[in-house]
């Protein structure tokens, strides 16, 4: 069994990745609660945004900051566009159908990325990845700090937004009952569009961070959505605070399993094992946390 010293660096990597899983999970939960769509293209959108940023910096000679902004805006734009085009016709369909439709978007984006950029080795280093500080004997870079910080800040911001703003209240209303909310005069399409946009912007940020924390690879970034999905499922696609905690737990569990050689090769199962255990536990307890705003 590894020593405590061996585990410590994995706590840092686990919290950093967990923070981004939480960030992505919150984006997915907000969108799901507002529109009923589980966006499986979340990772693909972020991946493509990151690759566009890479293209802008390395091939078109852009400065870094505008390229990063393009990544985030791309995430928002593509997700919003999808929501505007496919949201209304699929609004009345089963959530499974709506989620499957986003899988189509994910595959289209993945194919496009493979076609344009193929699978060659690429690298985009954020300025925060080159700056670091020591915590005990462990080197922590600022991208890792950002990963955790964004997860926490976006969660808190989302909670406050949903509780205290008119748009947030409208989103909660839609989550509870779409038809009644519509009859009360809430502009449903506009509220849903806002949710699509915000979720997409979050996917752009997540794509940028993950391109550094994991690597700039289309397939890897696309399928990292699964870990975020696990966090969202543990939260029953309902509570953003639980999503944050679950994301951190998923990140930590996956990282801390790494130095334990007997289970290390199975650590990629951690997100789904945790999600399954959580869902089973919550089912046994006989009540659901769904319906709560935070």
């Amino acid at each position: 069994m590894p020593s405590w010293d061996d585990f410590q660096p994995f706590i840092v990597t686990g919290l950093a990745l967990g923070g981004v899983y939480a960030l992505s999970g919150v984006g997915m939960v907000v969108l799901y609660r507002t529109t009923g769509v589980l966006n499986l293209a979340f990772g693909a959108v972020g991946a493509m945004g990151a690759l566009i940023a890479w293209q802008a910096i390395n091939e078109w000679g852009w400065a870094e900051e505008p390229a990063y902004l393009v990544c985030v805006l791309f995430g928002g734009a593509v997700t919003l566009l999808y929501g505007l085009i496919f949201g209304p016709p699929l609004a009345g369909r089963d959530p499974l159908v709506k989620a499957t439709a986003t899988l189509g978007l994910a595959l289209i984006l993945l194919g496009t990325m493979s076609w344009i950029w193929s699978d060659k080795a690429r690298s985009m280093i954020l300025p925060t990845s080159t700056e670091s500080f020591m915590v005990s004997d462990i080197l922590v870079n600022y991208t890792q700090v950002l990963g955790l910080a964004f997860g926490v800040v976006v969660t808190i911001g989302t909670v406050l937004f949903l509780q205290f703003t008119k748009l947030g209240t409208a989103m909660r209303g839609l989550a509870n009952d779409r038809e009644i909310t519509a009859t009360l005069g809430v502009p449903v399409r506009r509220v849903e569009a806002s949710a699509w946009l915000v979720s997409g912007l979050i996917s752009g940020v997540a794509g940028l961070l993950l391109s550094n924390l994991v690597g700039l690879d289309a397939a890897t970034l696309t399928f990292l959505v699964i870990s975020s999905l696990a966090a969202a499922l543990i939260a029953r696609l309902s509570s953003v605070v639980v999503t944050l905690v679950a994301g951190l737990v998923v990140g930590l569990a996956t990282a801390l399993a790494t130095p334990i050689l007997s289970i290390s090769e199975y650590r990629d199962m951690a997100p789904f094992v945790l999600a399954t255990l959580a869902l089973l536990w919550l089912s046994r307890k006989g009540h659901s946390i769904s319906g709560r705003a935070v």
């Binding site: 990597t13 493979s114 080197l139 994991v214 499922l233 996956t254 090769e265 990629d268 789904f272 009540h287």
Partner: protein, 454 residues
């Protein structure tokens, strides 16, 4: 909230969880794949640096007869099978071979006749690989097989080729490409490339070795040489395998460094994108100086060197099965010229080097045929290849009659330096502590194919 709504919402979540599980299975089917295939990292490396500029000062070799006269008449058909599937595409190799043959055809062909390369692809499906070989042999009736690179093709088809009298010049991955009588690869494959990287670290004085490679079928075969060499030198080892694509590179880098321990060395065997993730993660965590680092051939790309910046300058030893593309030498200059003229979209790098060399060797052999150029004479010529000298290899390529072939068993170590790969160690022999290498060396000495390193 009513119980009905709660139960309804719970059912929704479970159904969505089931969809997500299916998504994860889809990922497992597509994502647990390696750019260079089932041998674990493989021995190919892609390079994205593009054409490097001027051809060089040394005069390039000629394509075939080099007479500038277009070939005409009935083409001499050759065949190639490459893996092409999401995440793994070796067709660059056959396409480069084709580019060389086009140059040959513009320069007199094979005694006036053009060469046509019929290219088949497979998707790591044994039935498909077998069907591709059957199509080449029985439908296309190719005279020879040149340019094969496939995750499974050697294993699936070697007996078929033996039964039909084909001697294959290709680039290998699986053990059968190096352990059967009718296949002589221009590369040395992942096992021996890992061995070469291991030898470099041992020379660097490491106290413990950790091999980390992609978790695909064939990892035990690949680590065989690593274990044999380390055992001979009395260096303790640890072998690790990671599912690809890697999703937590920071953790993987930490794990590798912890396995090697202080004063230890890490050998990576991954495709360039995966190796880059680990190396960048190591750099971001300040691990590049904690241990010594080495990598098998896939890391030999200027693109990886450029992406790493200066963080691993002179700190990463990459086992290079072929010469650097930057050298100024006749065959390498011809290689660059052929790509520029006939296949400008194909980047310089190990893959295209393999394809070029395979076609060049085959052309040279066919030009020596007296009489009719047909399946029998072509394969007889391939089998009799001996002492083919080229600046792309450390020692001459050969085929011959032997139960196994590893003609490329001597190579160099390169290292990133200011954005490109530079030579760190000149030609050295892959250690014969590994039994297949010893066997091949003994055969070489008996057959007169042994060339000692100078």
């Amino acid at each position: 909230m009513s119980i009905k709504l709660v139960l309804g919402r719970s059912r929704q979540v479970v159904r969505l969880a089931a969809l997500a599980a299916c998504f994860a299975l889809f990922v497992a089917a597509c994502g647990d794949d390696d750019d260079n295939g089932g041998g674990g990292g493989g021995s190919g490396g892609g390079d994205d640096s593009g054409f490097a500029g001027e051809t060089g000062k040394q005069k390039a070799s000629k394509c075939g007869l080099g007479n500038g006269k277009p070939a005409s008449g009935e083409p001499i058909k050759l065949g190639a099978i490459n893996t092409k599937q999401p995440g793994t595409d070796f067709t660059e190799i056959a396409k480069t071979a084709e580019a060389y043959f086009k140059c040959v055809n513009d320069n007199g062909g094979i005694n006036g006749r053009p060469v046509e390369l019929v290219q088949e692809t497979e998707q790591t499906d044994p039935a498909q690989a077998a069907a591709a070989a059957k199509k080449l042999v029985e439908t296309e009736k190719v005279a020879g097989i040149v340019g094969n690179t496939s995750i499974i093709e050697c294993a699936v088809n070697h007996k078929y080729y033996e039964a039909n009298g084909y001697y294959v010049i290709g680039s290998g991955i699986s053990p059968e490409c190096y352990g059967t009588p009718n296949y002589a690869a221009v590369n040395m494959g992942p096992r021996h490339s890992v061995t070469g990287a291991t030898q470099y670290l041992i020379r660097e004085g490491v106290e413990k070795l950790a091999l980390i490679q992609s978790k695909v079928p064939g990892t035990e075969y690949i680590e065989g040489g690593f274990l044999a060499v380390a055992k001979q030198e009395g260096v303790p080892t640890e072998s690790l395998a990671e599912a690809v694509p890697i999703q937590d590179a920071n953790s993987v880098a930490l794990k590798a460094v912890q396995a090697a321990g202080d004063g230890g060395g890490v050998v990576l065997n991954f495709t360039p994108p995966e190796a880059l993730k680990i190396l960048q993660a190591a750099a971001q965590q300040g691990l590049q100086d904690r241990v010594k680092w080495a990598c098998s051939t896939p890391c030999n790309t200027d693109f990886l060197a450029d992406a790493l910046g200066t963080t691993f300058d002179d700190k990463l030893g990459v086992n290079a099965e072929m010469s650097l593309v930057s050298i100024d030498a006749p065959d390498t200059n011809l290689y660059k010229q052929v790509l520029k003229d006939y296949a400008p979209d194909i980047p310089l790098g190990s893959f295209s080097q393999f394809g070029f060399l395979e076609a060049r060797i085959a052309t040279d052999a066919m030009l020596g045929i007296e009489g009719d150029v047909n399946k029998e004479s072509v394969n007889e010529a391939f089998k009799n290849i001996k002492d083919f000298k080229t600046d792309m290899l450390c020692k001459p390529y050969y085929f011959g009659e032997a139960p196994l072939h590893i003609p490329n068993n001597t190579d160099i170590t390169v290292t990133p330096k200011e954005g490109t790969m530079a030579e760190k160690e000149s030609c050295f022999e892959i250690s014969d502590a590994d039994a297949p290498i010893k066997r091949v060396r003994d055969i070489e000495k008996k057959d007169g194919n042994y060339t000692p390193v100078e």
